[in-house]
Amino acid sequence: MTESYPLRTFIGHAVLILGILIVAFPIYYTFVASTHSLQTILRPPLPLLPGDRFVENYSEALFGGVGRIGGVSVGTLLFNTTVMALGIALGKICISILSAYAIVFFRFPLRMTFFWLIFITLMLPVEVRILPTYKVMVDFGLIDTYAGLIIPIIASATATLLFRQFFLTIPGELVEAARVDGAGPFRFFKDILLPLSKTNIAALFVILFIYGWTQYLWPLLVTNRNDMNTIVIALRKMISFADADTEWHLVMVTCMLAIVPPILVVVLMQRWFVRGLVDTEK
């Protein structure tokens, strides 16, 4: 809009700012709480301005260890969660791009059967197969390992379908041109398909990283040791029923720290992410 309508602009901005405040206030409040001492938090009302214990609280949580979860530091939790989220995101991308490649570009017996099998698993939530999966993990001795955290949720029907749909839009002539140019299946994948999928991969990575970061049920089951917990599980463990037993200032710090990596991923990948959703480089 080129003309200026002061009232409209004002109302528009007012609505947007109000929305942001509503969404952002709890996060701000968490941040405020994370900079006060436990005593201040437990004695209402909680101040609306950050306190003076920022450095103490954050360094205690990150390096010192939190008593209620066996003295494990939040740094360890962040590391665990990062390993799991990266493993899930990258694993899902690798597996699904390869299976989509097979389904779209190769003719083999039972091709459509496999496709439908993958498709059907979309309809089964993790919770349905959680007991057999747990049993398998126990038998393999993968409880309290990174492999145990990652492998059971590494296959993704959704990502396979997304890649399949993208591959179907690649013109057949391009595939044939590559064949005439002497590119075998592996070269075609590496030289043509992967570069063309870059934006899709980036977008999926963001979504899957956050999916992995926020996993709750599976890490809860498969990790027993405190030092193998993910940050979400540890947060839950830090909170006791009795208010006085909970180190609320450390809980708040952990909350703040748990938000940071997903935000970082979104911010850093934003350009790619938006491009992947909006246009494909064709």
Binding site: E173, V180, G182
Partner: protein, 381 residues
Amino acid sequence: MATVDLKDVKKIYAGGVEAVKGVSIAIPDKALCVLVGPSGCGKSTLLRMIAGLESISAGTVSIDGKVVNAIGPTERDIAMVFQNYALYPHMKVYDNMAYGLRNRGTPKDEIDKRVRETAKTLELSALLDRRPRELSGGQRQRVAMGRAIVRNPKVFLFDEPLSNLDAKLRGQMRVEIKNLQRALGVTSVYVTHDQLEAMTLADQLVVMNAGLVEQIGDPLDIYEKPASTFVASFIGAPPMNLLALTRGGAGRMPAGSPEEMAAVGHGSAAGSTALASAAPMLTDGSVVPFAPQAAATLGFRPEDADVTHGAEAPGGALAIPAAVEAVEPVGAESFLYCAAAGTRIIVRVHGRATARPGDQLRVVVRAEKLHWFDQAGKRVG
């Protein structure tokens, strides 16, 4: 440099559809062979079989005397230019052209030399660092050509390469392709549905219809002596006029001049006397002289016909009464669309047409310019 030989090549798809029903073509070395036909005639399938992108159901394809049925496109040493160019969208022009060479393990400096040489011939040197989407249609076309040329293959295959360009550019590129092909002396197979492109480019023209070859030969020979009604109506624009002939029943006024009628011996006399004979007639009942015994269809090119307002036709010519329906002036020539003998015929006259829509006149064609086809549509005489 190589010859390409197709022997009784067939393509039968899994569903039982027969796209190519036994085609044999011998393409000489360095020739530009154009496969032309309406969509669905199997010309693209045939090209793709030569390329190795489509399996061969029966028959053999040989390149340079070697049967290539069982070997893949890479080993056939062919290069193909696709209809939509099929450039790699994420690669620069340079890499697009170098990709095939790299995959063949050509040394780096050799690749560089060849890419730059080819780019120079095609006037692409300034564009080597661009990506395909930054190029115009004509430039993309050139890159696609460059990608084929740089490999220096035995055979070029073109799959309707000009169909996505505008008319002016198409004309330009047509000349360029022809010159380039001649200069490089590489045997080429070119598929198109555009008969003008086919006529102007071909050393050897193959007209296809419904999975079969209708005629193979020099383009002008085909134009002058089409082997069937299909070829006659497909090659040449506007197409050849085709008029069905019937025999028996009562004829009306003979369509030829009186002397001619007497000479040929069909019918009895001039004038409007009713005739009852086996003489071939047009559907409007006018008797056609000079027709060979087997003729079922009569054809003539628009440029071989003339119009006259007079009642008498010149000797040795066929005159068909016609009503002008529309006149299309193109500048150097005009096309008259006339209703005659239950069909529409097109006559080409030089310069400005004097006839107006609604005029009754006679279309006159000299006897030697008439083509005759039998019941099956094959050429007679």
